[in-house]
Amino acid sequence: MDWGNILSNSLIAAVGVQAVIYALAAIGLNVHFGYTGLLNFGQAGFLAVAAYGLAASVATWGLPLWVGVVVGLIGAVILALLLGAPTLRLRADYLAIVTIAAAEILRLIARSVTFRKWLGGSDGLNRFADDFFKLNPYSQPEYTFGPLTFSQNDMWTITVGWTLVALTSLVVWTLMRSPWGRVLKAIREDEDAVRSLGKNVYGYKMQSLILGGVLGSFGGFIFAVGNQSVQADNYGTELTFFAYAVLILGGAARILGPIVGSIIFWAALAFTDNFLTQAVAAGVIPTWIMDTQQVGAVRFMLVGLGLMLLMIFRPQGIFGDKREIALDAR
């Protein structure tokens, strides 16, 4: 077994494109769920709208990259308005139902035969990221940092990606220390009390939904350009629930929660994947327990078990405050 290989692959996953995408998706969810208490189960929909807005603008209609980004952002804002308008006056669970359904509708539209001409059906779209990589300042084909090696393109994607993570976190940090953020947190605690103090709760919830959706849409852009393709089935409910796992692992309503959560989540997945593959290949794990075909499924079981243990022994996540969880029980 090559432990060096296992660890370096885990480290690459920890800072890789996937970790960036899920960090951005979870930063958006943190605004929704962590700070405002909105149950958005359709974060995948925001990433899909952004990714397809970018990809279709460039690949289908031949518009420049920056127009694609603007289309994606406008799409995310419109999606938030459409989801919020009918549900934010109602109880929290209605938003959950509507968002999970809307995200699935978007995915099914994107992969439908009817829109194949524009959205590429189940094959998705590609060849739209060239303009993005033309901006790439990295000139060598590969970059090596100790045991870690990144391709030229990945270097550029993760540089832009982690910069976006830093900037969005800075924005969220500033907002949550402001009176605006205080209103959101108060809505999470009890929205009737906030209403009784003269705040337009509906307006704030809508602003939160839009902000979190737009932050998530950055993850969609990175997803699209990082893979240099968009495929509808990448934007299923799995994406949303992984993002929730990332958020809760790191600690909801904490600025570093989604970032560290995403790093640990993807490092843990890569570690179990590499470890199991090598352990089976080396005969450390006998084939009557599992074979290499089953590694993909078993790693999720193990990571799931790890998450469960974390929730039992540290329910507030890595950065959470235990005192806050204790208050919840009242």
Binding site: V171, T174, L175, R177, S178, P179, W180, G181, R182, V183, K185, A186, R188, E189, D190, D192, A193, V194, R195, S196, L197, G198, K199, N200, V201, Q207, L211, R323, E324, L327, D328, R330
Partner: protein, 323 residues
């Protein structure tokens, strides 16, 4: 300034203003701040509120009492926009409130508290207070991003919040989570937070519910102080001793209607009020004499070995119980 001097004036003013008001349901007041007309609210087949006319005198402490299920809290919700009536109109300072959402009602100067205290648990006591301030620049999304635009105002808000916390003796708790406060302290916090809105009328829904007797006196003092500060108070309460102690005027509701109005002393003697309470379940004895009479009756029953009566002698005799 001696504490007693303004106390007597404001109270005397309120009592004097209400002296000539007829003791009938829906009586017109000399200077009403809140006027409700023909308000009904039904839940399915049940008429929860059916108020013909009621006026609330400015600058006075008005108690809204009545047996359980009389519609007091529903009426509160309707007045403050948290619920919409089937029909009726009501106005605050002459401005109609029909269809006005609750947050706008609050901004107009009518702020309420809740029967089940709504402390914002995972915010600190100080953050709870700051939230109450209105017209905060930092509460707008774009200005929130630039702290230099709201920092000065935040400083002022914090000073006001600290002053109020000191007055309500919560200043030592200001950095604690509101969820860690006791029930009585939460009531105090909710009242203090409502004052951050700088209301003209404060509507307290059962301010004494769940408060231990040691804190009751302090809460009573704070409610009286609201009147001394020029505010109008309307409160729902079950505790008759408190109603008698602090209210200038009492409105009695039963089965959704206003059945009596008047100063506390005359209300306690009103036969329709006694009937309303004793005709159904009630939470508190009306007067000490009543309580003693009822206790004596219950003891009588026990002594005569009434087979149908198996419960222990109750401190709060329940006339609704069949004998």
């Amino acid at each position: 300034m001696p504490a007693d001097a303004p106390a007597t004036t404001r109270r005397d003013q309120a009592v004097a203003a209400l002296a000539d008001v007829p003791r009938v349901p829906g009586a017109p007041k000399p200077d009403p701040i809140l006027v409700a007309d023909g308000i009904t609210r039904t839940f399915g087949g049940l008429t929860a509120v059916d108020v013909d006319h009621v006026e609330i005198q400015r600058g006075a402490i008005t108690a809204l009492i009545g047996p359980n299920g009389a519609g007091k809290t529903t009426f509160f919700n309707l007045l403050t926009g948290f619920d919409q009536p089937d029909q009726g109109k009501w106005s605050f300072n002459g401005r109609p409130l029909a269809g006005v959402p609750p947050h706008k009602v609050a901004r107009m100067g009518m702020v309420r508290t809740f029967q089940l205290t709504k402390a914002l648990s995972r915010l600190t006591v100080l953050e709870n207070m700051r939230l109450g301030a209105t017209d905060q620049k930092g509460e707008r999304f774009l200005t929130a991003l630039l702290p230099m635009l709201w920092r000065a105002q935040e400083q002022k808000v914090t000073e006001r919040a600290q002053d109020l916390l000191t007055r309500f003796k919560l200043h030592e708790k200001s950095e604690d989570f509101a969820g860690s406060l006791s029930g009585g302290q939460r009531k105090l916090l909710e009242m203090a937070r409502a004052l951050m809105v700088e209301p003209e009328i404060v509507m307290l829904d059962e301010p004494m519910a769940g408060v231990n007797p040691a804190l009751t006196q302090s809460l009573l003092g704070h409610v009286k102080q609201l009147r001394e500060d020029g505010m109008t108070v309307l409160f729902v309460e079950h505790d008759m001793d408190m109603v008698r102690d602090i209210s200038d005027w009492v409105v009695v509701m039963a089965e959704g209607r206003v059945i009596a109005e008047g100063p506390p002393d005359s209300i306690m003697a009103d036969q329709s009020v006694v009937d309303a309470y004793l005709g159904s379940h009630h939470d508190a004895p009306l007067t000490i004499e009543d309580e003693q009479r009822q206790l004596a009756e219950d003891e009588d029953q026990l002594r005569h070995g009434d087979a149908g009566y198996t419960g222990p002698p109750s401190e709060q005799p329940d006339e609704g119980h069949p004998t």
